[in-house]
Amino acid sequence: MYGRIIKNIILGVFDGVVYYVLFFVVIPEVFSRTMNMPIEPPPLLIMLMLGIFIAFGVISASVNPFIGIVFEVMSVILGALVLLMILGGKFATSIEYGEISLEISVEFKPLIFIIVGFSVLYAIMRCFERLSHLAKE
């Protein structure tokens, strides 16, 4: 029994870390490098999100699979919301160049919406996948 609990916790932590790395590290890093802009979320938010993702992952792996699905979907929705919050769909900066001041802004909302859309689609797929596994069992 303890073995199963430990296995579920390890699986949950792994799931949580994967979601965290995907939504909080990989996608913002790609945007940061492409747009040549620094994206630095506050350290408190980083710790909070990592904790929430891991908690959702552990709960999803430990509880009844039907309830677990809900937490898995919540992880994806949270990830999508975090992306929207960090990136905001708009990049703006101002540059002083001698006596000329420049204000530049670029909106990349379509890209964010596509990422969020595919995340939700992926979450729905995972739900059907788990439900079909449960039906087989």
């Binding site: 492409t34 747009m35 040549n36 006596e99 000329i100 001041s101 420049l102 204000e103 530049i104 802004s105 670029v106 909106e107 990349f108 379509p110 890209l111 596509i114 990422i115 595919f118 689609l121 992926y122 797929m125 059907f128 996948e129 079909s132």
Partner: protein, 132 residues
Amino acid sequence: MFSGFNYVLTLTSLLILAVLFMPLIIFIWDFIQNPTCLTIIPGEDVTPIGDNLYNISIVVSYCSNVELRDVLIQVGNITIEFPSLRKGNVTREITVSVSDLEQAPTEGRIEASIAGLYKFSLNFKYRVKGVS
């Protein structure tokens, strides 16, 4: 069944993201390579057309392969609009009044949509010495 669909979904999403990302990357890369990628050059032809009004030809030069849509260029009181702007030079005739030309414009803005997907705006202000 689901694993196959998962691969298809992942591949499709990566492909669509790459296609959507490409114009933005090319546009930024072109501007990093050539900061004067978009330039507005006043032509030498000035034709008087009436009381204090002149026709001036303006050449807009753009170097990127990514099409710009809904382009709006505003310098002082002068506004030029293009439904789309492709690589190359475009000449446009504008009508200006003497009062527009008397005072050198100190601010302006350029608005456009990169490949019709990403809105981009650039506001510039020239600070005249001694004026805050």
